[in-house]
Amino acid sequence: MDFRFSEEQTMTADVVRELLADVCQPADLRRLMGAGVARDEARWTKIVEMGLAGALVAEDKGGLGLSAIDFVQIAEACGYAGLPEPLVENAGVVLPLLAAFSANGRAAALLESALVGDVTVTVAHPTNPFVADADTAEAVLVVRDGAVHLIETAKAKIVAQPSVDPFRRLFTVEFEPSDATLIAGADEAAGPLAAALDRGALFAAAQMQGIAQRCVDLGVAYAKERQQFGKPIGSYQAVKHHLATAQVKIEFARPVLHAAAAQLENADLYSRARISQAKLACTDASDVAARTSIQVHGAMGYSWEVDVHFFLKRGIALTNWWGGPAFHRERVAARVFARPLGPEHTFAREAEHA
């Protein structure tokens, strides 16, 4: 029992954090927004050069062979930076899913070019009503009657569904399934699709944890600067207590998120409930932190000029991405109402109770 990250895990996340602090500042976001695009090719190239695209793909399939616990802090850093590019979705969710079908020749070929960063891939997962980044993706994994099809986006009809988040590109995708597009039957696909949901929910939670901390940090920075009644507003208890309350939410979402990441691969009722708990806790933290930050900023918080709205909007988007609160609460309920409870079961696995 050791609830700590390894030095290597923390170092890797630090490298990503430093890169994003360098190339993904609010000024960079505003430049991109002004240009009306959601991807900065120079920044994406730097991310790809770190080899992160294949982070969660097994080494024998050309990836780095990392696990969720290695990647979770990277996803937090992406949320903190408000990263527009699809590192978390592409590397965290879609490529491990695609790799599960690499026995199929088309899937294997696509995986190869995705791992070197030449292309990205997206997924139309039954949990999500929309498909992210279908405009820039080479192909989309689509589910029909439980079977997975691989469709080149050029051959599908994609319809943009503009999001309030200026850097999210959402679409609906229409396609014609055929034997030629099929890469996995329903039996084969069920496990990998469930794993994709787990990773999607976990890493959405991680991003929201980062968003929450960013919102508090922005609020703290402003509260130290802004003077009213002759003093920084951050010296007043009313302001302090708002920010402290948001930080408490963050502090108690973090261990849930990290435990969920550490146990993701158990893929049982317990690990899924923990992932869902993490999604709920990080959603709550991000919601409270964003609203707190707006309040602390006063009228400036309601302005376009202050950066908080980027994080507010990403939080709104991720709240329902890979399952909304009602969905995840039911996954928690499935564990709570059907399995033993109490302090001796905190780290339980299904196998022990089989």
């Binding site: 050791d2 609830f3 703290v220 003093k231 007043y236 108690f252 979402a253 146990q263 609460r329």
Partner: protein, 387 residues
């Protein structure tokens, strides 16, 4: 990160479990706050624990402990709450003063006080607050004046839990009468039966005794009873408070067991309650788990040589607010029966939820009010300026 228990940890859990199964009293003991009989029954239980060397498993063997690490302490606590074992009457001693003594005490002080604390022979109360020094603890007025090798204590302490029946108290006194605020304070121990000590019980919100005020009128104690240097009292108290808020005062297992009971209560009444209650029950379970996971993370960090900092304040806010929410959910499930005393013929399975609800309302107040904790978080974690 490895979230599986080692074989040794699993074996330890089994050892604790089987000992507790043999020794935990079959019937709940009467309250240690409301009668001498209940207090002494709990002292007797402390002696049973001490005889089995289960009093404080993290303490060194020389003071009656087992020299175990914090993860093993958590396992012990989990089994302790799982078994429904009695509350620890000496928690002020073993959880707060004990760790502080180990850090700041001389060898002679440790030998004198820790062994008797671990055995239950000396039960401790805390004497910090005063009528004019609550959240503003640095406003302490009680004085301890050194006369040769004795301190003469004078003052008025209040809200002191266990003081009605306890043997000793550790108090915060002004040893330099000319000093201001945090300076010139010292931490001094005094026997509650010493000449010049008068203890007056204060009825609590439920009408029962539980805390007390202590009047000190020229109480003489040896200078040996001062912990740490003269004038270092404030810093030592803050270290004690770190333990209190941070790790040991409220074991996660306490809330996980309460959450389990809440789920059982909900299942028994599911058909009668409104849907929002179900969400509150699930939230209570999730919060108890989050608190447990957080303490495992902290314990892992401390075991690797880290120190507990301002996150102690986040813990205190989290568990105290969770405790209220959990009990409110239970009262919602009980509906119209929530107001009944357990003696009411229609009380049925109402359990102790109402008592627990009252006690939960004290949580955001004792051990440093949650307003003070939020100040600490804002200033020490977030770096906001002091007022």
């Amino acid at each position: 990160m490895d979230l599986d228990y080692t074989e040794q940890q699993k074996a330890f859990r089994q050892e604790v479990r089987s000992w507790l199964e043999k020794h935990v009293p079959g019937k709940p003991l009467p309250s240690f706050d409301t009668s001498r009989e209940g207090f002494e029954a709990h002292r007797a239980w402390e002696r049973v624990l001490a005889d089995g060397r289960w009093g404080m498993v993290t303490w060194p063997e020389s003071y009656g402990g087992r020299g175990l690490d914090l993860i093993q302490w958590l396992i012990f606590e989990e089994e302790y709450y799982r078994a429904g074992a009695p509350l620890r009457v000496n928690q002020n001693g073993i959880f707060l003063l004990g760790p502080t003594l180990m850090e700041y005490g001389t060898e002679e002080q440790k030998a004198r006080f820790l062994t008797a604390m671990a055995s239950g022979d000396e039960i401790w109360a805390q004497a910090w607050s005063e009528p004019q020094a609550g959240s503003d603890l640095a406003a302490v007025r009680a004085t301890a004046i050194l006369e040769r090798d004795e301190y003469v204590l004078k003052g008025h302490k209040i809200w002191s839990s266990r003081a009605v029946f306890a043997d000793w108290a550790f108090g915060l006194f002004r040893t330099d009468p000319a000093s201001q605020r945090h300076k010139g304070l010292s931490l001094i121990f005094f026997p509650l039966n010493a000449p010049g000590v008068r203890v007056q019980a204060i009825p609590q919100i439920d009408g029962e005794t539980g805390f007390a005020e202590i009047f000190l009128d020229d109480v003489r104690v040896p200078a040996f009873n001062r912990l740490g240097g003269e004038g270092e009292g404030w810093n030592i108290c803050m270290a004690t408070a770190g333990f209190e808020r941070g790790l040991m005062l409220r074991s996660p297992a306490r809330f996980q067991v309460a959450a389990r009971k809440l789920v059982e209560l909900f299942k028994a009444h599911e058909a009668e309650v409104e849907p929002t209650v179900r969400a509150a029950v699930l939230q209570s379970w999730m919060d108890a788990e989050a608190y447990a996971l957080s303490i495992y993370a902290t314990a892992s960090r401390l075991a690797a040589g880290g120190h507990i900092g301002a996150e102690a304040s986040t813990n205190k806010i989290f568990w105290s607010e969770m405790d209220i929410a959990m009990h409110k959910a239970a009262l919602s499930i009980l509906g119209a029966r929530a107001e009944l005393l357990r003696t009411a013929p229609e009380a049925g399975d109402i359990g102790r939820w109402l008592d627990g609800y009252f006690f939960s309302l004290a949580g955001p107040i004792y051990a440093g009010s949650n307003e003070i904790q939020r100040n600490i978080i804002a200033e020490r974690m977030l770096g906001l300026p002091r007022a």
